[in-house]
């Protein structure tokens, strides 16, 4: 499958590339420069808090997905399996462990520093807990700060739950961070960063909601994963993130004014035949091939759940400088995979309706129980509630053994044919009315 050599990039993408290059460079020099390094996760991350201590965050999931994109994950996974990790478990964990066994070389080719602190903010996925238990053994002596995020069991966040999290932050997490960083917690600094967080969050929501337009100026899944990058990782709370989202929003507005579609790696997407809502993470090992199947067939993704794993900002949540710790707690609990199934179904139903989607598609990930368990029921519910035709494909995040191009293409082709026929029927019915 031929891929274009040089992907067309938006200006904001270059900006993001520079931000990432600097971040990984800083990480490679962390030991030399005496900077402390915190490993943590994307969903429910405490980036502002880490940055307020001048520590550098590392997100093992991001390393894993980057390894997937750089075609390294297959070997890393095999190395972890040789160590005794089962074929059946989450491939992000195995990819991360394999990367560590192979020298911990990051996406820019520079070595990543080992952690000074493992910050286990465990939100929306039980495997996170297992992952860090493994890392704790692989990095003996590194302290672990555990932040337990209660699940939105009742479909809401209660004051008791917020208090529980704030207490953990105050009595468990922050003292450990103070010890590692060798400095006191500065609440004012944290609050100031949250102003930037909220600004960037406002802009991200505008970008994602631009897909309500017909035609959509963005692809809210394949391009969306780039859009969420800075805010879901090391940059939330920084001025750079605000600059990045301002630039991105400017570009999106320009496209809207010109009536242009999303920018794909092969240039602007011309025809938008199908508008889809997608549930589930993407595949990273064959990301561009995967995306290409969609834009070649004129399918644009107008909303996705994956772009909500690090925060469902379109439901209104913003980091609040007036209550920094409480808002960190609410943030953690509000992430997509920490919402209960009825909430998730409600959100997806809303997307199908509000984004005027023609169909609802699930990309089910073999590795990821947090997403996958229950997806077939979600699919039925969405079909019943919206009448939108539903589609289902399967792949994996970073294990290339589970990406079957031919299979996925076939399934998608049949699905798009079905959508096509449905459109014809609807338009004929519309004419006869």
């Amino acid at each position: 499958m031929a891929e274009p050599k040089d992907a067309i990039k938006e200006k904001s993408m270059n900006l993001q590339k520079e931000m990432l290059a600097k971040q990984f460079h800083d990480l490679s020099k962390a030991t030399e420069n005496g900077r402390k390094v915190v490993y943590t996760f994307v969903p429910g991350n405490l980036t502002e808090l880490i940055l307020s201590f001048d520590m550098l965050p590392v997100y093992p999931e991001i390393n894993a997905l980057q390894s997937g994109m750089r075609k390294k994950s297959g070997d890393y996974i095999k190395d972890a399996e040789k160590m005794g990790y089962s074929e059946d478990v989450c491939t992000y964990v195995k990819c991360d462990i394999g990367m560590m066994l192979n020298g911990n070389i990051g996406p820019t080719g520079e070595k990543l520093p080992p952690p000074d602190l493992l910050l286990l903010s465990y939100t929306g996925c039980f495997t996170f807990l297992k992952w860090f238990e493994n890392l704790e053994r692989l990095y003996p002596g590194v302290p672990v700060a555990m932040l337990h995020t209660p699940y939105q069991e009742d479909g809401k966040i209660t004051k008791d739950q917020v208090d529980y999290m704030v207490k953990q932050l105050k009595e468990e997490v922050i003292p450990k961070m103070e010890k590692v960083a060798g400095r006191k917690f500065d609440e004012e600094r944290l609050s100031a960063m949250m102003l930037n967080s909220a600004r960037a969050e406002d802009l991200l929501v505008k970008v994602l909601e631009s897909a309500k337009n017909v035609p959509s100026p963005i692809d809210a899944y394949f391009a969306g994963v780039y859009y969420i990058g800075p805010i879901f990782t090391a940059f939330r709370g920084t001025a750079e993130a605000v600059d990045y989202y301002s630039e991105l929003w400017k570009e999106v507005q320009e496209r809207m004014q010109l009536g242009l579609g999303p920018v794909t790696p092969e240039g602007e997407m011309k025809e938008q035949k199908f508008r889809l809502v997608v549930e589930g993470p993407p595949n990273w090992t064959n990301f561009r091939e995967f995306w290409k199947i969609f834009y070649d067939m004129g399918a644009v993704i107008v909303a996705s759940s994956y772009t909500k794993v690090g925060g469902v900002y379109d439901l209104g949540f913003r980091h609040d400088p007036a209550e920094p710790l409480e808002s960190l707690a609410r943030y953690c609990m509000g992430c997509y995979t920490n919402m209960n199934l009825p909430q998730r179904v409600g959100l997806l139903e809303k997307y199908v309706k509000e984004y005027k989607a023609d169909g609802f598609l699930i990309n089910s990930i073999k590795s990821c129980n947090s997403f996958s368990a229950g997806q077939l029921m979600i699919m039925r519910e969405i079909e019943q509630r919206t009448g939108a035709p539903v589609g289902f494909i399967e792949s994996d995040l970073v294990d290339p053994r589970y990406f079957s191009y031919a299979n996925i293409k076939n399934r998608l082709e049949s699905y798009f044919q079905m959508l096509e026929q449905r459109k014809i029927i609807i338009s004929q019915e519309g004419l006869s009315v």
């Binding site: 998730r344 073999k366 996958s372 368990a373």
Partner: protein
Amino acid sequence: MDTLNDIIKRAEALAFDLQFSAAKKWKQDGEHRVLVGYLPIYVPREIIHAVNGLPVGIMGAGDRKQIIRGDAYYQSYICHLPRGIIEMALDSNLDGFDGFLFPAICDCVRNLSGMFKLSQKGHFQRYFDYPQNFDPSIGGAFYMQEMEKILEDIYAINHQPLLTERLNASIRLYNTNRRLIENIYNIRQHYPWRLSALETYYLLRAGITIPVEEHNAMLQEVTDIISEERGEAMDNIRVVITGSFCEQPPAGLIKSIEMAGCYIVDDDFMLGSRWIQGDIRDDSDEPLKALMEAYIHQSTFSSAYYDVGNPKGKRLIDLVYKRNADGVIFSAASFCDPALLDRPLMQKECEEAGIPHINFQYHENTGQFKVIKEQAGTFSDSIKLWA
């Protein structure tokens, strides 16, 4: 007095009665009674008992029920347990249950709680979040709130308030239950031939389907019988099984391991019934707090929570020494992230301690045990040879 065979037969029937007839009959026989189903692993059953409820363990459909509709709810790469439970929910098996508890063990069970919510099975469907902070004033306070939510759910159905004395009495009964179970394991440690691992399994699994009072009587009878010599010692090795705490291995698997020459002297099959180590205070003015303190300080090791400062690998080794076992069998359900992600670390601990080990994966409805039997047989032979 019944013979051991009679008791075991009854226990087996109860353990695998997927209609939960005994529990349903108990509910019919009294007023304001509620049936609360709980999934693996642990819930504080005492609080349910104290407000006129019967906690009933739902350990999956095993190999006793054909999965027809459940498969349509789960992809092939998700463990078997939830599909069997969905099958039971879609059939009549779980009719008559008033509510369901889903302890926080993994994302499958967590999302299954949402599936029950979506289909509105029972009056309540609650995900029971274990705290991952073990400071009584932080995680402990959270745990108390989790218990109170269950009590509110039950109160809304039967309007039975929680009385201190009643909860203390329930704690007393469950203390007895845990003591009797532990005692059976202790007897089996020295005389494993007196009661097979499979018989022990039936006994424990029966216990989560009937009132604790009845189970205590059953355990007492068995204890009396196996306190005297019976059966015949074999030249078997002694193993501890770990990793089977949620989706249960089929009975055939347990039997195959035993027949291959391994006495199973400890296991985590029915971990919820053995979760709390030792007695819980039963005379306090704040029995809920006593239950919380027991959870925080007396929990066994498990994949269900973060083992800060008390790593489960080390605790497994301690158990091997305590039971004087020759080796460990890691036996986990396929696609079980919690068990399978713990396995390499625990295996490493075994290696460092010089404890031989092997591993299997199974589904609750696995029907072929030839390979497992061969593997267990080879394991047993190699240990005998090596020793």
